[in-house]
């Protein structure tokens, strides 16, 4: 199935000769490869087209331009019970051009990669930027990058998932659902795998040309139990298996079939679990639950675009604002709380070599000993922080948080991996349970909701256990915890040590208009919060 550069050139020639029936504007114009493994993004002909787009942009008045070409392949395999529901393979390829003219942005993209189309979208991006100058109150200024960077980067995978035969993948999933269905009371079980490989190249008008190959893999399953009288049903989702920036080895390591009976037994047990009594409890959150809370109440509100109001119409603003009032001053939580941003963590969903503005990211502090110290930034945003950086002796540079979900979308600020650092102790999930006299432990993530400034949160989970006298005494159901963010992190009493650190993550995190999705990991340790408000969600009328 792999097509060679010779095939590619042959097809290009055919297009040039006008042999495609539907006409040139329908053709993918020859720069085409099959839905297979030889991605042409790093091809000299593609590079020449990118340079052409840059040249058109510069000659049209752009002070800066960047061009992204991406070839993205993703595969889904889904089974329900003992039936394969679907196998799908999606392949998309195209180019996006961003221009900056007199401090105003413009963007255009196309899947038609001919010299004419590329020039047309560069001109369209210029038109956008020029039209936008009319309302410009403050021109965009970019923080510097080294420029003239050339390099490649690839996710640290062991096995390319697209090299594994579909029957092998199906067998893994059917073994998992079969194992779950053997547990009495299970009504249905589903399992799936999702794989993504994106090869993308970025060229900037300041001389950088970077090629990256990013892999992401997500195995998952869900089981549902129905009561005999059909008045109740309960499900368990495998949210403790995080998606990762890894290859097929992540599927094998997840051992779905081994875990399935446990998920099934939990679902059945939930049918007869005790409904929680609302009130205040000491709350122990497993990393498989806490990662999502960190995502919503720390990672999102410390995005600078939210703090400044850019997301006000959709994803919201932030309580971590205004910058002058909170930087180095806001007490986010107790001194146990140390949060870092990091786009280099191996195996994480956010791992990259460079962001979508050619910035090589660094690990940086967001919350230090409980105090908020910095936002996530892009090149445009970093210059807005110049006064603060000068005051505290930091360089005015982006933290490398620019990302676009595809060639068809403009890049903007997206979060890096944002993680809670382990404590300086040897505590684990089990040892922390042993220290709780009366409380609730939550495993896995469930329903989650947060307001538009990230104050009021309501989060649930997959499995809830009642703890008494240092021991789990039974399962609870209909549990959710509600909180106000600074109070919640201000109640952080204890955290686990390095060996309890787990990387959770989200495949599809939405933000921006038009909405875009990114993938990000959050590492954390089991954490104990004192006297959190627990509600019962089992309302009947």
């Amino acid at each position: 199935m792999t097509r060679t550069r010779r095939d590619f050139l042959k097809t290009s020639a055919a297009v040039a000769a006008g042999t495609l029936v539907a006409g040139q504007r329908l053709s993918a114009s020859g720069l085409i490869h099959s839905a297979s493994d030889a991605l042409p993004v790093d091809d000299p002909a593609i590079k020449a087209l990118m340079q052409h787009a840059i040249d058109v942009a510069k000659s049209g008045g752009a002070s800066y331009a960047d061009v992204r070409v991406a070839a993205r392949r993703q595969q889904n395999v889904n089974v329900r019970d003992r039936i394969v529901q679907g196998v799908s393979d999606v392949d998309t390829f195209g180019m996006g051009v961003r221009t900056l003219v007199d401090g105003a942005w413009g963007f255009a993209a196309t899947s038609q990669l001919t010299r004419d189309s590329v020039a047309a979208i560069a001109r369209a991006a210029l038109d956008q930027a020029k039209a936008n100058r009319a309302s410009q109150l403050r021109p965009v200024v970019l923080a510097p990058t080294p420029g003239n960077q050339v390099g490649t980067w690839k996710s640290p995978i062991t096995t390319d998932p697209f090299t594994i035969a579909v029957p092998d993948k199906v067998a893994v999933l059917l073994a998992a659902t079969d194992a779950a269905l053997k547990v009495k009371g299970i009504q249905t079980a589903s399992a799936s795998m999702f794989f993504l490989r994106e090869e993308k190249s970025l060229m900037t008008s300041d001389g950088s040309y970077l090629v990256q190959t990013i892999y992401r893999t997500s195995p998952s399953m869900s089981v549902s139990a129905v009561s005999a009288d059909r008045t109740d049903f309960q499900s368990i989702d495998s949210t403790d298996i995080a998606p990762m920036g890894l290859g097929y080895e992540h599927v094998l390591n997840a051992k779905l079939a081994d875990r399935a009976p446990q998920y099934a037994e939990w679902a059945v047990e939930k049918l007869s679990a005790k409904p929680v009594e609302p009130g205040r409890y000491d709350l122990l959150l497993h990393p498989s639950n806490l990662w999502l809370t960190i995502h919503e109440v720390i990672a999102h509100p410390t995005e600078l675009d939210r703090a400044l109001g850019f997301e006000a119409n959709y994803a919201g603003t932030s309580f971590v604002a205004p910058p002058d009032a909170v930087l180095g001053k806001l007490k986010y939580g107790t001194e146990l709380m140390n949060i870092v941003g990091d786009r280099e963590q191996p195996g994480s969903l956010g791992a990259i070599g460079w962001d979508d503005e050619a910035v090589k990211p660094t690990k940086f502090d967001i919350v230090k000993d409980g105090v908020f110290v910095d936002y996530q930034t892009t090149r445009e945003q970093a210059t807005l922080m110049a006064d603060y950086y000068k005051k505290v002796g930091k360089p005015v540079r982006s933290y490398g948080c620019s990302y676009a979900q595809s060639w068809a979308d403009v890049q903007f600020q997206r979060m890096p991996n944002v993680s809670l650092q382990p404590g300086r102790n040897d505590d684990t999930w089990e040892s922390m349970i042993a220290k709780i006299d009366k409380g609730i432990a939550i495993y896995g993530d469930g329903s989650f909701s947060i307001d538009q400034q990230r104050y009021n949160g309501q989060f649930a989970g997959q499995v809830f256990w009642e703890i008494k006298g240092g021991k789990i005494v039974g399962m609870l159901k209909d549990v959710a915890y509600q909180f106000r963010t600074p109070n919640f992190w201000g109640s952080l009493k204890a955290i686990g040590g390095p060996r309890s650190y787990v990387l959770g993550g989200a495949f599809g995190d939405a933000k921006g208009q038009p909405g875009q999705s990114n993938s990000v990991s959050h590492g954390c340790v089991p954490s104990l919060f004192g006297q959190v408000n627990i509600i019962n969600t089992g309302r009947r009328a």
Partner: protein, 456 residues
């Protein structure tokens, strides 16, 4: 020159050409080809200026190969013969490796579709969009407020063909403009939306006026106790929650005991009254937002469906397999039911009348971050946003802090007090073009607000 002059989405003839080229090279027993061609133009503004704008277009072809009861799909946006043949070949190769699906339904033969409606497919230029944005930003600046917003314009064509001679095609356009205007001190926020089929439908002045007025009147909100309140929900807020019912109306889940629509002891709730008798919910392919695709994923022509009539469940969503198994007709509603053209019939009241008749209550502009809490009751949680007001003695008296709710549309549609006229709204969370549904404003009693939020 705009990329969208002309819009350049696929015509029927162009889609037929691609479909034929994809089908002719497919080695599978049966083959289905889905084609989506789309163009998008958008402008985003924040802090009273345009921050970015973009244009893109793309065409995707999905080839599904059926080998006996085995199937697999491959999608590509490369449209030359070689790439389509490669995709068809790959789908066939994968399909051969997949275990047979006993629930697989055979492909449909040629179907009869309503005559294509005459639609104007055009998208505005960057300058036109920037000018519309400026109407909002300038009014905000004139009132010492800060405007943020988004204009999105989409044109698309979809086509479906198969190796049994079926071909279906439809094209559409959707446009939306939303704005959130905030006070510089961060204590007030107002939101407004205008949604339509073409850019001419967008009323930017009205968006500006409404969002600015709400921002001004929502400043410095006071806290009131959470609890159960008589609540007036503007149409967007109604849509935010009522559309959640649609996602729960899957017949199979109901029949298997995994849904609110499951009946205790077995079966489902078709024929049972579940909400107030004034509630009727329908979907209709003739409603404008459903214009993309007058057919479902297998090629069945869509039809008007009444889901709940006078409070009684009339229909659940049966896919072809489950319908055959249960001995009923499949529901011709298409994929994504709930996101397209859901309509709740309205009443004779109006928001001013509802306010006038309220001794003490709450007025809600819209909801945010709505997530399922308990599928057994369609209980969801979420928050009010961008304009929440206290009503006292028949008047809106002050802005109040936002609330988190824990509610089910099933519960509050049983507590219905009044309904106004149904209008087209955009109730999707991301507020993109094409998310429109039709909802009335309603007044309900005992809406459950469970906690306060400090967010503005």
């Amino acid at each position: 020159m705009s990329l969208y002059a002309p819009v350049n989405i696929l015509s029927r003839a162009e889609a037929q050409d691609i479909a034929q080229r994809a089908l002719k090279n497919s080695p599978a027993d049966e083959t289905r080809v889905n084609i989506t061609s789309s163009a998008r133009a958008d402008t985003r503004f924040a802090l009273n200026q345009v921050t970015t704008s973009g244009e893109n277009r793309d065409t995707n072809v999905t080839i599904t190969a059926f080998v006996g009861n085995r199937s697999a799909s491959v999608s590509t946006n490369r449209l030359d013969d070689a790439s389509l043949a490669a995709a068809a070949q790959q789908a066939n190769e994968i399909a051969k490796l997949v275990p047979p699906n006993p629930e697989r339904m055979p492909e449909l033969s040629q179907q009869s579709y309503p005559a294509a409606r005459d639609r104007v497919i055009s998208l505005p230029s960057p300058a036109e969009r920037a000018a519309a944005a400026k109407l909002v930003t300038e009014l905000a600046r004139a009132n010492d407020l800060i405007a943020t917003g988004f204009i999105e314009c989409r044109a698309s064509a979809v086509a479906l063909a198969n190796s049994k001679g079926l071909f279906a095609y439809d094209a559409s356009a959707n446009v939306t403009m939303t704005a959130t205007v905030r006070s510089p001190d961060g204590t007030g926020s107002g939101w407004a939306c205008s949604d339509g089929t073409t850019f001419a439908d967008i009323d930017a002045k009205q968006v500006a006026a409404t969002a600015v007025e709400k921002a001004k009147t929502s400043r410095s909100p006071v806290a009131i106790e959470p609890g159960r309140y008589t609540t007036i929900l503007e149409p967007t807020a109604v849509g935010n929650l009522v559309q959640l019912i649609a996602g729960a109306m899957q017949a199979r889940a109901a029949d298997e005991g995994r849904s609110f629509f499951s009946k205790a002891g077995g079966g489902n709730k078709i024929g049972l009254k579940v909400v107030d008798e004034r509630v009727t919910l329908t979907t209709d392919p003739d409603d404008a937002p459903s214009t993309t695709g007058g057919f479902d994923g297998s090629g069945l022509p869509l039809e008007k469906v009444t889901w709940i009539e006078n409070g009684v469940v009339k229909h659940l969503n049966y896919d072809r397999f489950w319908a055959q198994k249960q001995g009923v007709q499949p529901t011709r509603v298409g994929g994504g039911f709930g996101a397209r053209s859901l309509r709740m019939l309205g009443g004779t009241s109006s928001i001013p009348e509802m306010i006038r008749d309220t001794e003490r209550g709450i007025l809600v502009t819209r909801f945010w971050y709505i997530r399922s809490v308990d599928p057994r009751t369609i209980l969801n949680t979420g928050l009010t946003r961008d304009g929440t007001f206290l009503i006292e003695n028949g008047k809106v008296t002050r802005a109040i802090k936002n609330f988190r709710f824990n509610e089910s549309p099933i519960f509050f549609l049983n507590n219905l007090l009044a309904m106004g006229s149904t209008i087209r709204i955009n109730a999707s969370e991301a507020l993109g073009a094409g998310g429109a549904i039709y909802m009335p404003p309603i007044k309900v009693r005992d809406f459950t607000f469970s906690s306060l939020s400090d967010a503005v």
